[in-house]
C-alpha cells in the first residue's frame, strides 16, 4: 500500500498523516507537492488538514485550482481512493468531488476537542473493517465544519448511505448536544455515491496511538490496508 499525502501551502496535518502511515501503520508514504502534477503511483491520496492558501476567500476554495488537484480529481473520478480530512474535506466539497458545503460553526468558535462519531456506513474501503453503529473517539479542530446542503440533497445523501460518520454521545446516541458545529443531521463525514471518496472533519491521523488519547483513527487506515491487500488491484495513479 502506498499513500500520497498532499502538501498545500498552509497544510499543517500533512506530517501527522505521514507519521501515522509510516511509523504507526508501517506502510509506504510520500508527500505530494501542490505544484507537482504527479501522484507518484499512490494507491490512496490523502488531502490533509490545515489552512491551505491561508483559507483565503473560503476554506478549500483556492486549493482546488492547484496542479496536484487536477490529478487528484482525475484519479478520484477514475475510482481512486481519496480521503479528505478537515481542510481536505473542505477542498473536496469546493472541488465538487463531494456534495454540499462546510460552513462556519454555528457557535462561531474554533472547536478543538475529542468527539465521538458513530459509523453509519461500513461498506466503504475506509470503514469496511469497522462495525456498523460502532462509536469511535477522534478529535476535531476546525472553525468551518458545519456541513450544509439543501433538504432534498440531504435526503438523497441519507437514502444512498453516503453519511459515513455522525457525531454522537459516548454511547452512540445522536443528540444536538453531541453536535460540535451545527452540521445537519450531525454529519461528520460523507462519501460519494461510489464510496471511493471520503471527506470527514474529525482527524483520524491524530488518534493513532493510545498515548495520544485514542487509537480509534488508526482503524480507518487499517481498513484501507486490508481492503487493498484483499482486492489486489488498485486504480492506477496517472
Amino acid at each position: 500500500m502506498k499513500v500520497g499525502v498532499v502538501t498545500f501551502p498552509g497544510s499543517n496535518c500533512d506530517y501527522d498523516a505521514y507519521a501515522a502511515i509510516k511509523h504507526v501503520l508501517g506502510e509506504e508514504v510520500e508527500f505530494l507537492w501542490h505544484k507537482s502534477a504527479d501522484l507518484l503511483g499512490s494507491d490512496i491520496v490523502i488531502l490533509p488538514g490545515g489552512f491551505s492558501y491561508g483559507d483565503y476567500l473560503r476554506s478549500g476554495a483556492i486549493a482546488k485550482f492547484s496542479p496536484i488537484m487536477e490529478k487528484v480529481i482525475a484519479f478520484a473520478e477514475n475510482g481512486g481512493l481519496v480521503m479528505g480530512i478537515c481542510n481536505g474535506f473542505q477542498i473536496l466539497t469546493e472541488s465538487g468531488l463531494l456534495p454540499g458545503a462546510l460552513m462556519r460553526n454555528t457557535h462561531l468558535r474554533f472547536s478543538c476537542k475529542y468527539v465521538y462519531v458513530r459509523v453509519e456506513n461500513n461498506t466503504t474501503a475506509f470503514t469496511r473493517h469497522l462495525k456498523q453503529g460502532e462509536v469511535l473517539k477522534i478529535p476535531i479542530a476546525h472553525n468551518e465544519g458545519n456541513y450544509y446542503h439543501f433538504a432534498d440533497e440531504i435526503k438523497k445523501l441519507e437514502a444512498h448511505g453516503q453519511v459515513v460518520f455522525r457525531y454522537c454521545t459516548r454511547d452512540g446516541e445522536i443528540t444536538p448536544e453531541a453536535n460540535p458545529n451545527g452540521s445537519i443531521n450531525n454529519i461528520a463525514g460523507i462519501c460519494n455515491r461510489e464510496g471511493n471518496i471520503l471527506g470527514m472533519m474529525p482527524h483520524p491521523e491524530r488518534a493513532v496511538e493510545h498515548i495520544l488519547g485514542s487509537a480509534d483513527g488508526l482503524r480507518l487506515f487499517e481498513s484501507l490496508r486490508a481492503v487493498l491487500a484483499s482486492s489486489g488491484v488498485s486504480v492506477e495513479a496517472q
Binding site: 473560503r58 476554495a61 466539497t93 460553526n105 462561531l108 450544509y148
Partner: protein
C-alpha cells in the same frame, strides 16, 4: 472593449442558509438597544478593476464568479458595473 472600469461583485448566502455571523451581529445590535432590525445577513464584495482593452468581459466576470468568488452551493452573486 468595455466602457466600464470596475465590476463590483456582491456575494451573499442564499435565502434559507443559516448565517451564524448575521445572527450574532443581530443579537449584538439588539443588546446595544437597536431593536429596529428583524434580521442581519452578512456577505462580501469584490472590486474587479477591468483592463481597458478587455474583450467579452461580461462572460468572464460571470465565469470567475461561479468558479471562484462564490460557492454556488450556498451563495448567490450580483454584479454591478461602474
Amino acid at each position: 472593449m468595455t466602457n466600464h472600469k470596475t465590476a463590483v461583485v456582491y456575494v451573499r448566502l442564499k435565502d434559507g442558509v443559516l448565517d451564524p455571523q448575521g445572527v450574532t451581529i443581530h443579537k449584538a445590535l439588539t443588546q446595544m438597544g437597536y431593536d429596529d432590525f428583524t434580521s442581519v445577513r452578512t456577505g462580501r464584495f469584490f472590486e474587479l478593476e477591468i483592463k481597458a482593452d478587455s474583450e467579452d468581459i461580461d462572460r468572464k466576470i460571470d465565469e470567475v464568479c461561479s468558479k471562484l468568488l462564490a460557492n454556488p452551493v450556498i451563495e448567490t452573486y450580483t454584479v454591478e458595473k461602474r
